[in-house]
């Protein structure tokens, strides 16, 4: 079987060797966690605790009645120290609950006893996903129960599990697939059951051969119809639309969602969380975070409690090297640079990458020479240089006409630009303007 892939894209240096062979180890339980109440895409949550309350690990501390929302749980046991707005990795100020640990880590158990997905109805699986606060753990943080409830007119016939992990440095999903293949496949089967789909696919990039064989061993068991596919090592192979194109050769229409072509895509981390929540009643209180980059002394894959501050996580990895300059949440291509280390790990934090001074030297942007490199690599087949220019001169209508809203902000164009133009930044500026305009028209 040949390796599957999509058209265009780039081949950056992957730099995964510093962490791909280190097993996931549990980080120390921090003395203090700061848990932002909004860690998902959708309606904001309201706090359910007050300052001074005693909470236990896994207790729901915030929720919302809206459908597109996801509750937040306490990740350690202790006392609520403060409810105030703090800096979220996205750069916004968001209301967060600060919990001081009592160092007991007592579990909040509401309904003990084993469950299996085979005994549950699809509605029950959705309910568990919602109550456990499961969101897309690949980084986008879209509530999983919403993905599991497609509108009736959309017929879903395939579930794809995303194990591509195409961003440089990150190895969190790789280790998860290698160490817990049983949970990955269990979660996938639960997703398939709740969507009433019989066909499952798992796509893994070919630089994780050990993970492919671990998953292959597991997928064949119990007669489920799950295909495991090796994918060509190429960025952005892990983007939903590219993954669907590679595995099923279906193209998501412009402005559409995977469900428009009958597909639901889940990250492998999400299915592991779903398996945990079904069997052990465990909400999302921790996740695997790859701490890597030349700026970190001992790169590691850590199981970190949600709300642990970056500074604590980096301490666990031996601290920062001299010359460490840039801290990125996520991978270097799509991640967000952080202004401080006092920022909490959230459900969407797949990695913390620290780069040193000489790696981040930014050259000044020069004039576009019209070489078309960005057009060649754009996986969405857009014209990045034109769209960026339209955005730059506030020609929002033109930019919209040329498909600015279809840009997935993967950063391929900026990566290859010989004139070092920050194309994605201009495109994001244009998108922001358009969204603002739409909001105004609505209100």
């Amino acid at each position: 079987m040949g390796l599957l892939t999509f058209k265009s894209g780039i081949h950056p240096a992957y730099r995964k060797n510093s962490t791909e062979a280190t097993a996931i180890c549990a980080a120390k339980i921090p003395k203090k966690v700061v848990i932002p109440l909004q860690q998902h895409i959708g309606a904001p949550n309201k706090p359910l605790v007050k300052k001074g309350d005693i909470v236990k690990t896994g207790q729901k501390i915030a929720g919302s009645d809206a459908f597109v929302s996801s509750p937040v749980h306490a990740s350690i046991s202790g006392k609520v120290k403060a409810i105030a707005s703090t800096l979220h990795p996205s750069g916004q100020l968001i209301t967060s609950v600060t919990i001081e640990s009592d160092e007991k880590d007592e579990f909040f158990e509401s309904n003990p006893g084993k469950r299996e997905y085979t005994d549950l109805s699809s509605d029950e699986i959705r309910g568990i996903a919602k109550d456990a606060g499961i969101v897309g753990l690949g980084g986008a943080a879209f509530p999983t129960h919403v993905k599991l409830s497609p509108p009736k007119e959309k017929k879903i016939d395939a579930v794809i599990l995303n194990g591509a992990e195409c961003e440089p440095y990150l190895t969190a999903d790789h280790r998860l697939m290698l160490e817990q293949p049983e949970k990955v496949v269990y979660g996938l089967k639960a997703v398939m059951k709740s969507l009433n789909v019989s066909k499952g696919y798992i796509g893994i990039e070919n630089n994780k051969k050990d993970a492919i064989s671990a998953i292959l061993n597991m997928a064949g068991k119990n007669g489920a119809d799950i295909e495991v596919h090796g994918l060509q090592v190429k960025y952005p192979q892990g983007a939903e639309k590219m993954l669907i194109k590679a595995i099923l050769n279906r193209e998501v229409p412009a402005g559409g969602l995977p469900m428009d072509v009958g597909v639901v895509v889940q990250n492998v981390g999400t299915t592991v969380a779903l398996a945990d929540s079904i069997r052990d009643h465990k909400p999302v209180i921790e996740r695997v975070v790859t701490v890597s980059g030349t700026g970190v002394k001992e790169p590691k894959n850590l199981m970190v409690r949600i709300g642990t501050l970056f500074s604590n996580v980096i301490e666990e990895c031996g601290g920062l090297n001299e010359g460490a300059r840039k801290v990125i949440m996520g991978g270097p291509l799509m991640g967000l640079a952080q202004p401080s280390l006092e920022i909490p790990v959230v459900k969407g934090t797949s990695g913390i990458v620290v780069l040193t001074e000489n790696e981040i030297k930014a050259e000044k942007a020069r004039t576009c020479i019209g070489c078309g490199s960005c057009v060649d690599v754009c996986p969405m087949f857009l014209l990045p240089t034109r769209i960026a220019n339209f955005s730059k001169y506030d020609l929002t209508e033109k930019a919209e006409q040329f498909g600015v809203m279809d840009c997935i902000e993967c950063g391929c164009c900026t990566y290859v630009c010989p004139s070092k133009i920050s194309l994605v930044q201009w495109i994001r500026y244009g998108k922001g303007n358009i969204l603002e305009k739409r909001k105004k028209i609505k209100s």
Partner: protein
């Protein structure tokens, strides 16, 4: 034979010429659009900067708007009083006294004064930094320092000083409003150069936070309000001057300020 060719050429070309000339004459007589001669006269006295400060798309459009009574004679801010009088005499009306206004930058938190949260490597444009990253200064009300206002100025009246703040040459400023529109943080306002007292800060954070982020921020102590409670009001931890026509500002207000956020007779090229 050759002679015939010459004659044929001459007569056919001459004939065509005559035909089109008569068409033009006919068009000139029958299809003529009367242009008010005043429009042309006004166009001549206008500065021809085509800046759009009057709200019209360029000087010819403004001239037409004046003649049609849509715009007022004194609305060309670039031309100022002199042009207003000239237009008024063309129109045969009395020009109102024009109050000259200049652009004032209400932030003094340059590179030396403000705390930095990060180093910014992105595109150096204020409008973009404000939307995408928030710039590098901790203060979320401060001047971003990427000179969008300077780029927008068509009259060379603005530049960035060594401290990373825009400076206005008040003599060259024509109050065309371009820099006011360019600033994503609304730090630039147009005011009469006669007004001596201004609050050079827009920080609405509580004093404790404001003090941490910038040395020259308004910390909301209300000391400046006491000498002149009628014109200065505290709004969300920020002293705000309510400008009126007669307002000039009291020197005592500035003397009390512990951070120099409110200043009297500040040299525009500071």
């Amino acid at each position: 034979m050759e002679q015939n060719l010459y004659l044929l050429g001459l007569s056919s070309m001459g004939g065509l010429g005559l035909f089109f000339a008569s068409l033009l004459v006919f068009a000139d007589k029958k299809l003529r659009v009367e242009v008010d001669p005043k429009i042309l006269l006004i166009e001549e006295v206008l500065p021809a900067a085509n800046c759009g400060a009057c709200g019209q798309p360029g000087c010819p459009a403004f001239a037409e708007a004046v003649v049609n009574g849509i715009a007022d004679v004194h609305e060309c801010t670039v031309g100022g009083e002199e042009v207003a009088h000239q237009i008024a005499s063309i129109m045969g009306v009395e020009a109102k006294a024009v109050q000259k206004k200049v652009a004032k930058v209400f932030c003094r938190g340059g590179n030396k004064e403000t705390d930095r949260k990060a180093i910014y490597y992105g595109v150096t444009s204020c409008s973009l930094a404000a939307k995408v990253g928030g710039g590098e200064k901790s203060c979320k009300y401060s001047c971003l320092g990427y000179a969008d206002c300077v780029d927008s100025c068509k009259f060379n009246a603005m530049w960035m000083n060594a401290n990373g703040l825009p400076v206005v040459d008040e003599d060259a400023c024509t109050s065309c409003n371009k820099c006011v529109e360019a600033c994503p943080r609304n730090l630039i306002e147009l005011h009469s150069p006669d007004i001596k007292l201004h609050v050079y800060c827009k920080n609405r954070d509580p004093g404790k936070i404001a003090k941490k982020t910038c040395k020259v921020a308004c910390i909301g102590c209300t000391l400046c309000v006491k000498p002149d409670p009628e014109n200065i009001k505290m709004v969300d931890n920020l002293a705000v001057i309510e400008y009126s026509d007669a307002y000039l500002g009291l020197e005592e207000c500035a003397k009390k300020c512990p951070t120099n956020a409110i200043a009297y007779q500040l040299d525009p090229i500071h």
